[in-house]
């Protein structure tokens, strides 16, 4: 009898396996449900037909999971991360290291119980998250991430002519030193959630519910209003659990944002890839001087505007000064230091014919390094894009604007939260802004060199 050892050529290739607990984590809820539903039967010893079916499924699933684990291997080879998967049909994915935009470490709740983490890789050119490796022990996931990012920088460094990017081509396999830049404290988060539109909705819905009860003495309207109340409550809780304990730290590979109550999320923002930032100031926070910071990173579409926690959020709530300071940090790589140095100007008074209320809240400006626009009556949003990141510029004018001699200037950015629009400017001025922005973007592009 010979031992089934790995063939020699396999031994030369030092592949690694994912955690053997992966199938369990993936189907944890199912396993718990099956066990819970047939536990009594199992204890009593008389196993009904349903329990038999469930148990058979469980065993089959376990076999499949084990086979899937056995077949999943990953290794780094010639600047590629290769991931082989598949039990019946085999797949081999190759992720080019130099195409990596960023790597997130995500710990869903169940995985966190087992100390496991998922590695999510963002690949250039793909809107969707293409590369995912799940699950690895947390320490291993962190190590692999650092290795991949370091290797990426080493691959990119000789080709990029950008001097400030060649910081440290050596490969730190252990997590590099990091410096905490900002921390979100729980009190601020709670107060900000209480001062959000969802809370207002929650209160209004609850008041309506109470009024109905008082008026009719029975909860007739309950069925209609309760889901609304619950919905607002869930939305608030989702944000609390997503942003809980948020920390912004500076690491050699970029700014790292860690957050989460149940599901831990660590996201690294490559500062060189920042396309722009948005500072959001809802009406109810303004008195407290609070603001929110979102960032747009190339290849990172971020989540939709469903009010839920968003991947693009760097700081969900903080003092305005801190938010602006973080914004400066994010914009530094594109040589654009200070957003507040850009002078914002309002639209001319005649714009009130097209935008009677909004006009007072519209402002925009073109600085030497940045394009800035501000809008929003209740929630004030300031969009900031460096000239070096402008994709294209558009000047538009509708018939009404033409009679008023107004025009809009729009800056096109990659998919993300940032959208600079100078709305309802004087037409000649808008054209001047377009030419100025075009010339500055050209200068910025040639300064940053080809990539």
């Amino acid at each position: 009898m010979s031992l089934p050892g790995p063939p020699l050529e396999r031994a030369e290739r030092p592949y690694k396996r994912i955690s053997p607990l992966t199938p369990l984590v993936r189907s944890f809820i199912l396993v718990v449900a099956v066990l819970a539903s047939s536990w009594d039967d199992l204890l009593r010893g008389d196993i009904g037909p349903l329990a038999w079916i469930l148990l058979t499924m469980l065993v089959a699933g376990a076999v499949y999971g084990a086979a899937s684990w056995w077949r999943t291997k990953y290794w780094i080879e010639a600047d590629e991360l290769r991931v082989d998967t598949g039990v019946i049909s085999r797949q081999s994915r190759r992720i080019r290291v130099d195409r990596l935009q960023g790597i997130d470490i995500v710990q869903p709740f169940v995985a966190r119980l087992f100390g496991l983490a998922e590695l999510r890789m963002d690949v250039a050119g793909g809107g969707a998250r293409e590369g995912s490796l799940a699950f690895l022990p947390l320490r291993e996931a962190q190590g692999l991430r650092e290795t991949l990012l370091a290797r990426r920088d080493a691959v990119r460094a000789p080709r990029s002519s950008n001097e400030d990017r060649v910081d440290d081509p050596v490969t730190p396999v252990t997590p590099g030193p990091e410096r905490v830049l900002a921390r979100l404290d729980l009190g601020t988060l709670l107060v900000s959630l209480l001062l959000s539109a969802e809370t207002v909705g929650f209160v209004v819905a609850a008041v309506v519910l109470g009024a109905l009860f008082v008026e009719f003495g029975q909860l007739g309207g309950l069925a209609g209003v309760l889901p609304v109340v619950a919905g607002f409550g869930v939305a608030l809780f989702r944000r609390l659990s997503a942003y809980y304990g948020l920390t912004v730290a500076e690491t050699p590979t970029g700014l790292q944002v860690r957050r989460g109550l149940f599901e831990l999320n660590a996201q690294t923002i490559a500062v060189a890839r920042v396309q722009g930032v948005v500072v959001t100031e809802p009406l109810m926070w303004r008195r407290l001087g609070w603001a929110r910071l979102d960032v747009a990173v190339a290849g990172y579409a971020g989540s939709g505007s469903d009010g839920g926690p968003s991947a693009s959020t760097v700081m969900p709530v903080a003092d305005r000064d801190l938010v602006l300071w973080l914004a400066r940090r994010l914009l530094e790589a594109s040589g654009a230091p200070d957003p507040s140095s850009v002078r914002l100007t309002r639209s001319p008074a005649r714009a009130r014919w097209v935008s009677p209320i909004g006009r007072r809240f519209l402002a925009s400006g073109v600085g030497d390094d940045l394009l800035v626009s501000r809008e929003g009556v209740l929630t004030r949003r300031t969009h900031i894009v460096p000239h070096a990141r402008v994709q294209s510029l558009q000047l538009t004018q509708g018939p009404l604007q033409r009679t008023l001699r107004l025009a809009d200037l729009q800056v096109d950015s990659p998919p993300g939260p940032v959208k600079v629009r100078a709305r309802h400017r004087d037409a000649v001025e808008a054209r001047g802004l377009l030419d100025r922005a075009d010339a500055l973007a050209r200068a910025a592009r040639s300064a940053s060199g080809p990539a």
């Binding site: 250039a124 000047l395 018939p399 025009a407 592009r445 940053s448 990539a451």
Partner: protein
Amino acid sequence: MFPRSLGTVNELFAPPGNDWRPVSPALARLRRTVLVSVAGIALVITLVLGLVLETPVWPVLVVAALLVLVVAGGWVLIGRNARWWGYAERDEDLFIRHGALFRTLVVVPYGRMQYVDVQAGPLEQAFKIASVHLHTASPGTSARIPGLPADEAARLRDRLTSLGHAQAAGL
């Protein structure tokens, strides 16, 4: 090619140097052909319905008059719209202007182009024109030039691609 009567408003949408290239007159021909064909079919349907249902004559006449009005109005609008399409190739960027009513000027740096599409549907092929579509990393960039003569579309695509490569800028 430039509608002089519109005066200074044009300068708002003109590139520095004012070297616009127009799109092919075949674009307006194509659109007008489609307009007239659709109106013609509608007229035939109206006539047939009028005959089959034995309606009085005046509703048919009203519909026919409306169709004539639509064709006349559309004819003029198509002409105006086609005159407003234009593009200018500059050293580092492409200017595209379009829209008579809602005017737009798009500036796309060559270095920002991700890829260039040339499309020609069956109708466009019959009129020997094609449209060129520039894509940047932003989905908001609406840089499309319809109605280019087929060889001009190919030339523009090749030129844009080579310039895009030469001036490519990182994201």
